[in-house]
């Protein structure tokens, strides 16, 4: 029995180190099933739920003989785990913020409390009301519109609250934010990365002259990595031509679903890493609702999202891509607004142009982290 306890405690510890907790009943099951334990061990941390329950194990068994290899079946409880994971991850960042004194959970709030703090996930933001939740309940707080203006649903924030009259008011919002990058990451040798998007070869507005200038320029460059952030053309033949035109370089297609056979594409967004440098590359369409909601410039909107440590809070299923557990060095987006390059606390933010009106793009040398503006007009 003593041996059993020791082994079981090892199992518990194993999962705890991976951010998961084992249900009591399940512990016995895992302990008695080596195969199951191996299967669980093989899962990525991101695939482990916060609580490993009998339900999860049963589904895991089902997934071992899945409905079909390309399908994922989720119950609402599984879905909840995604939010809890996000909440827990960002809470770990917020919990150390000095402004969040007298931190309580929602169920510990009482009408008598004069000043306290909460960490919660935003459920809704109205003109003067903020609703946030944690795993113990929901809190409705009054808030000045100026303060709530930059919020969005499903982001995780810290809130400093004060009692006003019979209610509590959110007087300060604390975001996880990003630390300043002290050391700028670089590759050992020069590594050129060029970010292009919105070529629109099939469009009436496609400007061949701009494109020709691009071709002349690109073929004079040493081999580089070209990130194609969407919208080359709807016609596969155009894409084939493009590939041929820039064949001396290595191309990374992001968000294209009409690539020619044999051409590898990547889901949008893509997190690309090389020699310790992390590049977040995306068409950027997901940014549009935020830009519109906040009435901000596109680069301001991205900075606002960086402060939330999450580039797309309302998308839970692509959490691994959008949640910024570690910060990218470069964020590159397709044509959302004016082409631009900005820096926020050591992170470079690039927006590309287009080949219909504003063919301005950026090239970055990862070896020196110099950014070059290339204008093909």
């Amino acid at each position: 029995m003593y041996t059993n306890l020791m082994d079981k405690s090892k199992i518990v510890k194993f999962f705890m180190e991976r951010g998961a907790h084992v249900d009591k009943t399940v512990l016995d099951i895992i302990y008695n099933n080596d195969e199951l334990f191996e299967r669980l061990k093989s899962l990525d941390r991101k695939d482990l739920p916060h609580f490993i329950t009998a339900d999860f194990i049963a589904k895991l068994q089902e997934r071992a003989m899945p409905l079909s290899e390309k399908e994922l079946k989720l119950s609402s409880k599984d879905y909840l785990q995604y939010y809890i994971k996000r909440y827990d991850a960002i809470k770990q960042i917020l919990i150390n913020k000095p402004d969040l004194s007298n931190l309580v959970s929602v169920n510990k709030m009482s009408a008598r409390m004069q000043k306290f703090s909460l960490i919660g996930i935003v459920t809704s933001v109205d003109y003067d009301t903020l609703t946030i939740e944690d795993t113990t309940g929901t809190a409705r707080l009054s808030i000045d519109n100026g303060l709530s203006r930059t919020l969005t649903e499903d982001e995780v924030i810290g809130v400093v609250c004060e009692k006003t009259g019979n209610t509590h008011k959110a007087v300060k919002l604390i975001f996880p934010d990003t630390p300043v990058k002290k050391d700028v990451a670089k590759t050992k040798n020069d590594h050129l990365c060029f970010f292009i998007s919105d070529i629109h070869m099939d469009s009436e507005k496609f400007n061949l002259e701009f494109y020709q200038k691009f071709l002349n320029w690109v073929n004079e460059q040493i081999p580089m990595t070209i990130f194609v952030l969407g919208n080359v053309s709807q016609e596969p033949s155009d894409i084939e031509k493009f590939i041929k035109d820039v064949s001396k370089h290595s191309i990374i297609f992001i968000g294209h679903d009409n690539l020619p056979e044999g051409t590898k594409g990547h889901r949008d967004p893509l997190v690309y890493e090389t020699e310790g440098i992390k590049i977040f590359a995306s068409e950027g369409n997901f940014l549009t609702p935020y830009i519109n909601r906040w009435s901000m410039q596109h680069d301001e909107a991205v900075i606002n999202l960086l402060k939330k440590r999450h580039l797309n809070p309302t998308d839970i299923l692509n959490e691994d891509s959008f949640f910024l557990k570690t910060l990218p060095d470069i964020l590159a987006f397709g044509n959302i607004g004016k082409p631009s390059a900005t820096n926020y606390k050591g992170t470079t933010i690039i927006f590309s142009g287009n080949f219909t009106s504003e063919p301005v793009y950026r090239m970055i040398n990862l070896g020196t982290r110099e950014t070059f503006k290339i204008d093909f007009s």
Partner: protein, 899 residues
Amino acid sequence: MEIEAQLLDCDYVVLDNTPIVRLFGKTKEGKTVCGFYRGYYPYFYVLPKKTNEDEVIEFIRKNFSSIIKNIIPVEKYKPINYQSKKAEMLKVVLTDPSKVPEVRERIKKEKLADGIYEADILFKYRFMCDMGLSGFKWIKLIGSASKTNTVKTDVCLEVDEIKDFDRTENIKLRYLSVDIETISREGLPDARKDIIGIISLAFEPEFNGMKFMTLVSKRATQKMNSDTKTFQNEKEMLAEFLKVLETYDPDIMIGYNINGFDFPYLLDRLKENRLMQTLGRCNQKPAISRKFGVQFRNSMISRVIVDGYALIKESIQKGNLRLKRLGLGDVSRALLNDEKLDIPHSEIYSHWNGDGQQLSKLVEYARKDADLSLRLVLQNNLLDKFFELSKVSGILLQDCLDGGEAQRVEILLLKEFNKQGYVLPDKPSDDKYSSTDESQELKGALVLDPKTGLHTDPVIYLDFKSMYPSIFIAYNICPTTFVKEDVDVETITTPHGTKFVSSKVKEGILPTILKKLIDERDNVRSESRKTRNQEAKRILEAKQLALKIMTNAFYGYTGYLRARLYIIEIAATITGCGRYLINRTKEVVEKNTPYEVVYGDTDSIMVKINNTDLDDASKIGKNVEALVNTELSGIVQMKIESVFKTILILSKKRYAGLSYEKVDDEWKEKMVMKGIETVRRDWCDAATKTLFEVLNILLKEQNTKKAFAYAKEILLKLEKNEVPIDELVITKSISKSLSSYKGIQPHVELVKKIKKRNGTAPGVGDRVGFVIVKGMQLLSERSEDPDYVKQNNIPIDSKYYIENQILPPLERVFEVIGISKNELMGMGKQTLLKDLFKNNNHASDGVKSEITSFDGFICNSCNKFYRRIPMIGKCSDCQGEILFSHSGEKFKNLVLSVK
């Protein structure tokens, strides 16, 4: 003159600066007696600081010369820790009991003493202890007849000598049941302005040939029963009540919630009407009603107030009764097979102001209440235990009914401590109590981790006979034998590590008392077995129960923060030894037998025997008993209590089993349930019945499939609306005005609905029964009157009943039996009980299986829509299950394509 009487009350008066003790009793012939005893004075003890004795005497004489009778040097043992020698103390005797606190506090303030003892003992108990008297026991008063108009008794005498003696029979008591109806327009009645409309009385024995009498504070327009008297106004009615009280002269006044309502209200109305409140047998001291927090303590001289509601509540708390609701109607239905008359509380006002017929109905209603209250107490012999407890503990009957266990133990302790030359400490002061380190928590009894599940092999139930008292005796545990530092005498070290002086050196006072109580109980049980007289047998049964209660009260007392002898080390020693004994027993059984201990709690263990025969199981049990007793010889004795043929263990302190006990060579079957929710008030009858029946099938037939099938059948019936609506009614009471309720509650919402519909509705004090019907609104808004539902054929929300009433308790039961490892690993769809009862694809409740995209989330019970699943994982309104929503439909699972 010599009079034998049973003691009912004891108090004192002060006349010419001299206290006179009054003993109230009743003779066998039914005559009330009051004996006046003079010449007894209050006193307490002071332990002066070293070489300070003269200073203390001087200080007391100087500052309290008019009230000090005497200061006598004495030698007494201090109460805590073993001492070989007595200490020199001063016995301070006063002339007035009420001045004791003043003198005590002054001595404390001047810091003249190292200790002050017995300075807070009530004078009546000081007297009773010194005279060797006990509450409700027989006493012989020897003295001379006297005359006085200060008391209302048949006989008065000046007492020279008192003796107490034993007699099994009690006097024939006179019982008066009192019930009042107050007249208030709405809300709770206010004694400052709302009159008492009716006082109904029930007598046992009869009063002038009448079983009942109802007094009404207004003239009636139509003829009433002969036992109903009407008056011009409330004052006249109250005056008549006082006259009846004096003439009938009851010993016991009974009511249902009389302490919480009728008695205090009556006193207030007597005051408002400027009538005397001397309801007892004394013409000088009025009846008293004092509020302590939310409770009232009421008393009057020489009459005992008995609250039926408090007695029923106590019975339920002790596990002697299982009742869902405690209203007089509900309790009468359960225990007397009788009902209250049907007038809702909120309609009393309209009946009072209505026509003659309505008033007549109200009078009948009031009479019935008085009748039920009386019969409840008498027919169920609810007072027997208290009569005997009063005798055994020594405290008066009224204090026995109202007071806590601590008081009962302390009077016994006082007698014995004084007898052996010890003093008792005062109760801890509020300062000392609040500064007591509460982090010094008492580690409680051991509850072993149970082997949960349905055990179909016999399980023997063994328990330690009087475990805690046995531990006291075995290790001679007592404050007077407690050893903290090294001593030069033989000591015993307990398994907990604490030391006590051996009984060879000095027998502890607590072990002495406990031995006496245990021996007396054995004698009483033996006598009870022999006697054929039913009345005597009943009294002896009550006596042995009282002795058991007193024996078991000592452990709790030592761990009670406000006790005089609160010593955490002693209480911790008892539980520590208890834990050691249980662990040791388990070890002994499992090492020396092939059997398994499946559960253990405080002083009992359950051992599973691999055998199907009850007789064989019992024989094996005896062997186990002998084995354990050998190993633990001299400490406690274990005994086989019963055999469980089947037992379902859910968790610690929660099990149900079919128990068999041998009585007169025959096996008697009994269903035993501990901690299982068969009587929760917020459940409908269908839930209770279903759980009970499932347990019945599991335990009696050991048939899991049948139990499961039965449960499924009920759920299907619910889905098809085939369960009678009356079985789905949930009841809650309206305890305050509707506007005082915060939040939305189903019964409150229903009352608002009924008010809108009918103009009138249930009010404060009424219980409201409701059912939950189908609809899109919040749950609380879907509560409806059952009659309205029947009349209008409104569909019930069967999903609510399934998810929130029937399934939760069943899930806990089936969880420990129905879900095997194979099912869990291989048939993932059946991991949840809910899934077992539902079709996977298109359940009849409209929930579909899968969807590939969704537009939000929805509560499966109340249909509340959510943009995102609530972080608490369930509906924030009704705690219902959350499902995916798409175009208004509900789906269990989301299926996504993974690229």
